[in-house]
């Protein structure tokens, strides 16, 4: 099983923006309910391929999305 990461957000709109940007860049991206082990106020988190972490963070910066956190997630 490949390892996943999750991006946590401050607002739901930024979660949808991140989803669009990652998908448009051809990356795996799936909005999931925020896993319990992470505290985030936004009910949604974005699951991605942890191996693409640097590319994901670069895309978020370009899109002016400031994540509440980017964490490894083994599920």
């Amino acid at each position: 099983m490949s390892e996943h990461g999750v991006v946590l957000f401050h607002t739901t709109s930024s979660a949808f923006r991140a989803e669009r940007v990652l998908l448009a860049a051809g990356l795996e991206a799936r909005l999931i309910p925020t896993p319990r082990e992470f505290s985030s106020d936004c009910g949604m988190a974005l699951r991605f391929d942890w191996g693409k972490r640097e590319r994901v963070e670069e895309l978020l910066r370009e899109a002016e999305v400031e994540p509440a956190g980017v964490n490894a997630f083994s599920q």
Binding site: T11, T12, A15, F16, L31, I32, G43
Partner: protein, 382 residues
């Protein structure tokens, strides 16, 4: 029936619009952006897609700079109340809608100073006149992009260039131009742009918003309404992030889904093509009206300085009588009177009686314009 009241509300809508609204209710009934379950996610995704479509229409790169509101009026109130404080000076034109004038008059009573720059009798504003009205305390220039009475399309780019060099913000009321005139906020030099969903964007009533230009710092704008946003729930202070700072309470997801479909339809057709179609109808109307004895047409003569709104009066006849007879005898629907813009009518010299206003839209045909002209000619003769 011939519908010539697109300046009030566009009708009919492209079929995509009611379909998107029904599908939102049927397939995405969750509260957009309040939970992580699949219905909420799908609702939020459709609201976001509409945000993206609006951002593309105004050529704004970041869709989070699109703030949804119930209509242009609410967006204008947000911008005016959020920016202006007692002691500030604000400049506007003499052809504004009450959506601008009433909030400004209320702010004036609270200590905001107001200058109203007169327009020419055709409704057009002289950019130099706006610059001359600025003072050291001027914070904002608020302008309608096109008059809902005369159709006059203001030279916003030139006005913005003149006032922005003095550090003055530009707020544009695009109620009559969003979807009808190409709009690029960066090229025009507009900081804030209020739009409505139910006119040229072909969406349902109850939608609209405020678009923040790329360089506008939202820290300088106070929210009009505060409340739940689904973010920072642990805080009792309003969050600073866009668009949540300005969007409290559950959004009109159904309406916004319809608005998104309307905007996508407009973008597929192309604003430039829609404008060419509507201007050709307006030209046909203006020429036909001018040929009817006793009819006086208002607004700029050059078509490129107008949107497809044609206001006229008939010598010796009440506008209410003409409107009623067009409706009852010919099934032609238009709007007569003051159009919520007494200042604009004072400028044109048509206050307090008002005008008859014909406003064609994307689905209006040249044949319908000809039928309206024939009907009016008969009414004038009898």
């Amino acid at each position: 029936m011939i519908y010539l009241d697109h300046a009030a509300t566009s009708w009919p809508k492209p079929p995509d619009v009611p379909q998107a609204m029904a599908r939102f209710l049927e397939e995405a009934g969750g509260n957009p952006g309040r939970a992580g379950h699949s219905l909420s996610v799908e609702a939020g995704r459709r609201v976001y897609a509409a945000r993206e479509a609006v951002a593309e229409l105004f050529h704004v790169r970041n869709p989070l700079r699109v703030v949804f509101a119930a209509n242009a009026t609410q967006a204008l109130n947000l911008a005016l109340r959020g920016l202006l404080h007692p002691g500030d000076h604000v400049v506007t034109s003499s052809v504004e809608h009450n959506a601008v004038m009433r909030p400004l008059r209320a702010l004036e009573r609270e200590g905001v100073r107001l200058s109203i720059v007169p327009c020419a009798p055709d409704g057009l504003l002289d950019p130099a006149g706006v610059e001359q009205a600025l003072t050291a305390r001027t914070r904002l220039a608020v302008l309608t992009h096109a008059s809902n009475v005369s159709g006059a399309l203001q030279p916003v780019g030139e006005i913005a260039a003149r006032v922005r060099k003095h550090g003055v913000f530009v707020l544009l009321d695009a109620a009559q131009t969003a979807g009808a005139v190409p709009l690029n906020l960066a090229i025009l030099g507009v900081d804030l742009c209020a739009f409505t969903g139910h006119k040229g964007l072909l969406g349902p009533p109850g939608t609209g918003g405020l678009v923040l230009g790329e360089h506008f710092d939202p820290a300088g704008l106070e929210p009009l309404v505060r409340g739940g946003t689904g973010s920072h729930s642990e805080e009792e202070e309003q969050p600073d992030e866009l668009p949540d700072k300005f969007e409290s309470g559950t959004a009109n997801g159904v309406g916004i889904a319809g608005l998104g479909a309307g905007v996508r339809w407009v973008r597929t057709r192309g604003v430039t093509a829609l404008r060419a179609h509507e201007l050709s109808l307006a030209r046909r109307l203006r020429e036909g009206l001018a040929a009817i004895p006793g009819v006086r047409v208002y607004g700029p003569r050059e078509p490129e300085r107008t949107v497809a709104i044609v206001s006229f009066t008939v010598a010796g006849r009440r506008v209410s009588e003409i409107g009623l007879r067009l409706d009852e005898e010919y099934g032609i629907l238009c709007r007569v009177g003051l159009h919520c813009a007494p200042a604009a009518h004072r400028t044109l010299g048509t206050f307090p009686e008002g005008t008859v206003r014909f406003a064609p839209g994307p689905f209006t045909t040249p044949e319908e314009i000809d039928q309206a002209l024939i009907a009016l000619e008969r009414i004038v003769r009898t």
